[in-house]
Symmetry: C2
Subunit: 322 residues, 2 copies
């Protein structure tokens, strides 16, 4: 028993040493990896002119297309579709209303605009208590599969990004999600998947109301968008929740442009990075003109403002979580 | 030199041991202190039936009247008054408008309703960038004195509560402020004073807007209340920012009633506590009917729902920060 414990300790030391010697192991040697490591070194080495105090080491990450995949549609949409089927008995009108009729017949709705998506989310994510909603997301997530890869959605998170999150936390950066997706949708699974606690997740949210029903105090989710954490909403969401400008911001689409712009414009050392989806074999390749995760203005601005651009195809040894 | 270092290390060990042996040193032995320590022991001892996982150890604190004093008016009001004087040259109409005319003549305005306060805050806290506002609060706080005690406002924080915050953090509780006060006002000084980071401060907020002015990306504060973090707003503020129900909630007025109610109603062990201002000699004595920090319904509910009620006069050895 004592020997076993001893070996365990040794193994753990060796493992720690190995991990410490191999940060960002799934990143190819090259410009992107170097830029990240150089920046982290400069901002966390005492005496460096770019040193950042621990309390200010805020790193924000978009979620869809940055930490996990987002094609052929935002994964939250698949949850909404599943909810439509579940809730259909209480909504006979859906049989003759689009996009609900298509969804109920198992067809992917032809055109889901942003407005449709918001309405879908309102109809499938509200009118229940906060606890019920979290339970519904957890239940769905535990068995749902991606329509193309047939993988659990939570396996479609990017291994190099998991390593980056860990690497930053090892250097006392506090990691946050800042996503256009629903904050409560993410909170049901993201803490376990990314190691980011519930209170470090910022997102879009519906209005909610506190009330005591039959003597039970609860929070009820209302069918009204309260905050849209996208585009210029991202800096605002960060200002509301954190109250300071991040030092590191990572995104992948024009929806992240303002967040990266605001971050990079701060005093002292700042790092903004775009994940460019260039790998049609291992994932998807898309940018300008894509309905999901369109990347156009932000890619132009990246050059002008000295943002790092990750080329998924050449910068990442593996794509999904190992 | 070596001997000195050695002594320093020894002293630091002794000091640490002393501090560890004396948690909540400014709390009198008695019901309140026992209730706190018993609860923390039960929720942080593995194997205890009330054990709470570290990720769920959320403790929320009201600020005004709970962590620092709030008489004869919320301290943020004194900042607003100072701002009125500073901004007066740009507002000639204030000379003939109440409550501004009184303020400019150095009189405490006779009746400041909640509506007046909101308008005052709008007129004195907005129309500038986020960075400018933080700078203005910091500058004011560094020299302002309380009109009665003549102490710096940040010295009027409660020593027993500082010890409670430390004690909870030592037991892996994450401490948050949840205040009706302005979140950005608090963020300018509270992290240094309470050891609570900016992102763990929840409060009322004005609307804000992201824009690029002369090529400089910035956040501008708008004269519109975006969220009122008081009464039923407190559970909502917590749900928005943290996404889970706290395990511990502490407040002092009817404005905290819903937060304490919601917290205590959660599954498993929960702890709600009221600070009752009973010490007219060392601080102020007030509850029911007080214009500031009125405590009526919450005190009644405390008995019914088994909340702990701290009697400042008998439970606290000292009041203010030592």
């Amino acid at each position: 028993m004592k020997l076993f414990k001893y070996l365990l300790v040794i193994t753990s030391f060796v493992f720690t040493a190995y991990v410490a010697a191999e940060p960002l192991a799934s990143w190819q040697e090259g410009t992107s990896k170097n830029a990240i490591m150089e920046f982290v070194k400069n901002t966390t080495t005492e005496g460096s002119k770019d040193f950042v105090a621990v309390a200010d080491r805020i790193a924000v990450f978009d979620n869809d297309g940055t930490l996990w995949a987002e094609q052929p549609a935002y994964f939250q949409l698949f949850f909404a579709l599943a909810q439509v089927k579940k809730l259909a008995p209480a909504h006979p009108e859906w049989k003759t209303t689009q996009p609900y009729a298509d969804i109920l017949q198992g067809k992917m709705p032809a055109h889901v605009t942003e407005k449709d998506l918001v309405e879908l989310v309102m109809n499938t994510h509200t009118g229940i208590t906060s606890d019920e909603f979290t339970q519904q997301v957890s239940t769905w997530m535990s068995s749902a599969k991606h329509p193309v890869t047939k993988m659990p959605f939570t396996d479609m998170v990017y291994q190099p990004m998991l390593e980056l999150l860990t690497y930053l936390r090892e250097h006392d950066y506090k990691t946050f999600i800042v996503s256009g997706g629903g904050v409560e949708f993410m909170r049901a699974w993201a803490p376990a998947v990314y190691g980011i606690p519930s209170e470090q997740i910022i997102g879009s949210r519906v209005a909610s109301e506190y009330k005591v029903v039959d003597g039970v105090p609860q929070i009820v989710r209302l069918p009204k968008l309260d905050f849209n954490d996208d585009k210029a909403g991202k800096p605002i969401g960060i200002y509301q929740a954190i109250g300071k400008r991040p030092v590191i911001a990572v995104g992948n689409s024009d929806g992240d442009r303002e967040m990266l712009e605001w971050t990079k414009a701060g005093n002292g050392a700042r790092f903004s990075m775009l994940i460019h989806h260039t790998d049609e074999k291992r994932e998807w390749a898309y940018d300008k003109g894509s309905k999901i995760g369109g990347l156009d203005k932000a890619l132009v601005q990246a050059k002008k403002d000295d943002w790092t651009v990750v080329d998924m195809k050449s910068d990442w040894k593996v794509i999904y979580k190992k």
